[in-house]
């Protein structure tokens, strides 16, 4: 046990990375974390106001909120499990695993580490949200909610380790199958709601729903139904924890948002036709070369896949939530517009990976006699190239469920605007903020907060336009032109500032 705590201490130090002993970084981290909390606080205030306006009462949001967040916590654990489950830094692989430290000791220290990490991300914002929408009864609710989330986190960690360790018994493929199977079952209630299928009553024994139920009813007795799940996972966990899993440990804390190139992704190449359409023949122009480089990178190193998965899961929630609540509290058509608000997450995740894996290759570019601007314009263009079509894909996916597209013109301008500004801000963040330890560290929150909040701010006129009926559903040509000109003009300004001013941060 002593050894486990020594391992944990060093790991936490590495995880917090450059923060230790550098006051500027500590302040920065506090600000970022504060923004994260302010964001969730504002979101829950908005829910509260919406509840008051719609007459359903603010606490009406509690079941959905808890259901979605409980499922999300478990899904996060399963995602980690799919990536290997046991988190490790490269130094641990080089120095700890070959030492006398027993696998079980390492596992214990990692379980505690994951608990700390998850708590930092989950507990304060969730507590803030639940507190805000249940005020003034917040104390009663939080007293049940916090232990329930702790249980969810413990289950998530067990899932993550069990899936990761199952590699030694089931092999890579079997373990992946197990992981995606568990992922599907955890997300099943949301999936059914998204498809509009009524939930069978047996589904209330789903662990995420049991936990959500406990919080909303304020009763801990329903937690008894969790016992079989906990007992079963614990039994498997204890059995697996005796195996020597060291050979399958990967530097997960660095590569969590990436994938090793596979047979398929390793062969992805940028079609010359695309370059020609964009006027960027790789042979003639440096921007084309850089553009091809970045597109190839995001496809082959797996950051594109990760980002796309996250967006698809969010869209699942986006479709499911209004259906669970019944459309009376939630204007159903808003979900189309919602897509635009979270689409900047895709370039944000790409930017985190740029900082982790590609920044160190900048020496190559700096050895060329040409200007470094094409590097930035190629990067921005590559992000927009994946973000915009993907957002359109999600839009058409959701529109099938909604059945009509009353805000088509305004929504399209909004999607374009959010995709572009999100990409630009993601590039800007990755240039100015160094991410040194892990994509799962607190510092990387800034990579999420800045593109999400910033692009919404820059798109504010279009967002406001969207809320003005009947102008939003039947915009006059002048309104469309004005909105487009606004976006285009601002896009040009941002482009110039980023590509011209950004080169000095390429170090």
């Amino acid at each position: 046990m002593r050894v486990a705590f020594v391992l944990l201490r060093v790991k936490l130090r590495q995880y917090l990375g450059p923060v230790v002993g550098r006051p500027r970084n500590v302040v920065f981290l506090f600000i970022v974390y504060g923004l994260w909390l302010v964001g969730t606080g504002l979101f829950s205030l908005a829910l509260r106001v919406a509840g008051v306006v719609s007459g359903s009462g603010p606490a009406g949001f509690l079941p959905v909120l808890t259901e979605v967040t409980m499922a999300a916590v478990m899904a996060a654990g399963i995602y980690l499990g799919l990536k290997g489950g046991v988190t490790a830094f490269p130094y641990e692989i080089d120095f700890v695993l070959p030492s006398r430290v027993k696998p079980r000791t390492f596992l214990v220290s990692d379980a505690i580490f994951q608990f700390v990490m998850l708590s930092l991300f989950v507990v304060p914002p969730v507590a803030l949200m639940i507190g805000t929408i249940t005020y003034p009864a917040h104390v009663t609710y939080l007293a049940v909610a916090i232990p329930c989330y702790a249980i969810a986190m413990v289950m998530a960690i067990m899932l993550s380790h069990v899936i990761g360790l199952s590699r030694t018994k089931l092999g890579d493929r079997g373990s992946r199958l197990l992981g995606w199977g568990l992922m599907a079952s955890v997300l099943m209630p949301l999936g059914l709601s998204a498809l509009g299928v009524p939930r069978p009553s047996e589904l209330s024994y789903h662990p995420a729903l049991i936990l959500s139920h406990a919080v909303t009813e304020g009763s801990t007795s329903v937690l008894l139904y969790l016992l079989p799940y906990v007992a079963a996972s614990l039994a498997v966990y204890v059995r697996l924890s005796g195996t020597n899993f060291y050979p399958s440990v990967t530097p997960l804390l660095v590569s969590a948002l990436m994938d090793r190139p596979t047979m398929i992704t390793g062969r992805v190449a940028v079609p010359a036709a695309l370059l020609r359409v964009l006027g960027l023949r790789a042979s003639s122009r440096l921007t084309g070369l850089m553009y091809a480089l970045h597109l190839t990178r995001v496809a082959r190193e797996g950051s594109l896949f990760t980002g796309a998965t996250v967006l698809v899961l969010l869209t699942l929630g986006n479709i499911a939530v209004p259906r669970i609540m019944g459309s009376f509290t939630f204007p159903e058509l808003a979900q189309l517009t919602m897509i635009a608000l979270y689409v900047p997450l895709l370039p944000a995740l790409l930017a985190i990976n740029w900082g982790l894996s590609e920044r160190r290759n900048l020496w190559l570019v700096k050895m060329s006699p040409w200007s470094e601007r094409p590097y930035l314009s190629g990067l921005l263009l590559a992000y927009v190239t994946v973000t915009l079509p993907f957002s359109l894909f999600l839009y058409s996916l959701v529109s099938v469920g909604v059945g009509e597209l009353p805000f088509l013109a305004v929504d399209l301008i909004l999607l374009a605007s959010m995709s572009y500004f999100g990409s630009a801000l993601a590039v800007l963040t990755s240039l100015t903020v160094r991410i040194e330890s892990s994509p799962l560290s607190l510092g990387s929150l800034v990579f999420i907060v800045v593109p999400l909040a910033g692009s919404a701010l820059l798109s504010l006129p279009v967002l406001v336009l969207r809320t003005f009926e009947p102008l939003a559903s039947s915009p006059t040509p002048t309104v469309i032109a004005a909105a487009s000109v606004y976006v285009a003009a601002f896009a040009a300004v941002v482009y110039r500032a980023l590509v011209h001013g950004g080169t000095k941060y390429l170090t």
């Binding site: 390793g266 042979s283 190839t296 050895m367 006699p369």
Partner: protein, 244 residues
């Protein structure tokens, strides 16, 4: 003069790493940079290739100021100490990428790429991702990319790291070849017998300053040894003298 460094200063977080260093590399020479760990070799090399901006002093490469005019970069090849490569590219894609960055194109590019691949025994690996290559194979790829543009000036920082004896001899031959054609090579390494075999001149760096500089003969003489002594003896003696 191919490379001329005068009174170079560079600090990191207020700690000087290079303090008033001078270095001259003539056309047609292979010049060694020797020094203990942390002496300032890598810092100097990075200032020469333009990856670091000197605090003070001037750096001229091929007659151009390294801080003001970047056009000299198409004339140089550079191999960093721990080269980080875009591992998601195949070996061929990477070599083509570097060649394009150096301004090559068309048929010339294709022949250069196949030439360096042939030279470093990479022919069977051209369509493999760099991701899965061994350390030494990655070093070969990095070395090949440094000479893909037929550089007039080659700057190498610990180039033999991980290279097998066969490729080491290829690399040494290439260094001599460049100097024979009138170009020059600046190589930082701890392998003193290698320096003895390929270099005509060298500079000993100690705590950020040039301690001694000149042909290998001159270095031995200034250490108080005759030409039958090894470079190792000369180096150790020169460095230990300052310590006292």
């Amino acid at each position: 003069m191919m490379i001329e460094v005068k009174d170079l200063w560079k600090s990191f977080d207020g700690e000087p790493a290079v303090r008033g260093l001078n270095l001259t590399v003539r056309a047609g020479s292979v010049h060694g940079l020797l020094g203990l760990n942390g002496a300032g070799k890598t810092t100097t090399v990075k200032c020469v290739v333009g990856l670091l901006r000197p605090d003070r002093g001037h750096v001229r490469v091929a007659g151009r100021s390294a801080t003001e005019d970047v056009s000299y970069k198409s004339l140089i090849g550079y191999l960093p100490e721990n080269p980080s490569l875009p591992e998601y590219l195949t070996v061929r894609e990477f070599l083509v990428f570097v060649a394009r960055l150096k301004g090559l194109g068309g048929r010339e590019l294709q022949t250069s790429v196949s030439e360096v691949a042939e030279l470093f025994g990479l022919n069977g690996l051209l369509d493999k991702l760099i991701f899965g290559l061994s350390k030494g194979l990655k070093q070969r790829v990095a070395f090949a990319s440094a000479i893909v543009n037929d550089p007039l000036i080659l700057v190498l920082d610990e180039p033999f790291n991980g290279l097998d004896p066969e490729v080491q001899s290829v690399a040494k031959a290439e260094m001599k070849e460049i100097s024979k054609r009138g170009g020059s090579v600046l190589v930082s390494t701890h392998l003193l017998d290698t320096i003895e075999r390929v270099c005509n001149s060298a500079t000993i760096v100690h705590r950020g300053k040039d301690l001694a500089s000149g042909s290998l003969e001159e270095l031995k003489r200034s250490a108080g040894l005759d030409s039958s002594a090894s470079l190792e003896e000369a180096f150790l003696r020169t460095v230990s003298r300052v310590r006292e």
